[in-house]
């Protein structure tokens, strides 16, 4: 498992990780504030989903190194994610019909 580039200078990569962490913590704090101020349900749902997707993407791209690893790993991971998103959407659509 040596595909992570080691050309970055000492400390630069660690600082990058900390920056990603700060972004994740900030988004989580924004989510908590939004729940406390009682945003309109329709707007809140979409906003929370977008924020959640942003956080998950940050973790997968930077902490799991998919940004710089082989595209094969990306394909392996993305295919079931797309299937699950389609499945969840269909479940919600079927629920809307009731």
């Amino acid at each position: 498992m040596t595909d992570i580039p080691r050309t970055t200078h000492d400390g630069r990569r660690a600082r990058g990780y900390v920056m990603v962490f700060l972004a994740l913590a900030a988004i989580t704090a924004i989510e908590l504030v939004l729940t406390q101020i009682g945003l309109a349900a329709s707007a809140a749902g979409a906003l929370f989903l977008i924020l959640s997707l942003g956080k998950a993407t940050l973790v997968v791209m930077f902490f799991m190194h998919l940004r710089q690893d082989s595209r094969i790993y990306t394909a392996i991971f993305l295919l079931p994610v797309i299937l699950v998103l389609a499945f969840s959407t269909l479940m919600l659509m079927s629920a809307g019909g009731h």
Binding site: M1, T2, D3, I4, R6, D10, R13, A14, Y17, V18, F21, L24, A25, T28, E31, L32, T35, Q36, A44, G45, F48, L49, L51, S52, K55, A56, V59, V60, F63, M64, S70, I72, Y73, I76, F77, L79, P80, V81, L83, V84, F87, S88, M91, L92, S94, A95, G96, H98
Partner: protein, 197 residues
């Protein structure tokens, strides 16, 4: 060793030409299967949430769970800093960060147990309603994954203490890291669909 002594030698060569580590490939395939596993549970939870009244949802403590989310995100940072440390040959750093990862994972589990006890005190149990059943199944399976991750972190820590990992060879640390970050990603999704929406 010449190629004619190895069965399917051409297949091995093809694998190397893709520059893929078989251990890492195996871990990503496992995580893909986990996406499908949690996807089924999440789809079911969403369906019930959209079709049935869920008055129990008002009992959920979003702030407490939000803090727990922060704990899990912090643990992910500890894992990547540990990986970064061993990549620079700093074994002591890896041991420290793995210890902090296990500690934060245990704190997360403690928060989850506290939440479960609190909800059970209000009558929300696995059998009380569809919400209770789907909630405990979803968060319980995630908690089980965190517990496995904490044990895995401690095993990795012990191996690090014995000098198993070096700057050149740290496959075990990276495999553990992929698992732990995936558990973090799953929680980010669960936190949104259970507590925020």
């Amino acid at each position: 060793m010449t190629s004619h002594t190895i069965p399917h030698a051409d297949d091995f060569r093809a694998g190397r030409e893709l520059s893929l580590d078989h251990r890492k490939l195996g871990m990503w395939l496992f995580l893909a299967s986990e996406v499908m596993f949690f996807g089924g549970l999440v789809g079911t939870f969403l369906h019930y949430k959209a079709t049935l009244p869920t008055p129990e949802a008002a009992l959920l403590d979003t702030v407490l769970v939000g803090l727990n989310t922060f704990v899990l995100i912090t643990s992910s940072l500890m894992v990547v800093l540990g990986l970064d440390a061993i990549q620079r040959g700093r074994r002591r750093g890896l041991i420290t960060f793995l210890g902090l990862t296990a500690l934060l994972g245990a704190i997360f589990l403690g928060g989850q147990v506290f939440e479960f006890i609190s909800l059970a005190g209000h009558g929300v149990t696995l059998q009380s309603s569809v919400f209770g059943s789907s909630f405990y199944t979803l968060t319980g399976f995630h908690g089980l994954h965190v517990l496995i991750g904490v044990i895995w972190a401690l095993v990795t820590l012990m191996k690090a203490a014995r000098g198993t990992y070096t700057a050149q060879e740290h496959a075990g640390v990276e495999a553990f890291g992929l698992y732990w970050h995936f558990v973090d990603v799953v929680w980010i999704v669960l936190f949104t669909i259970i507590y925020l929406i």
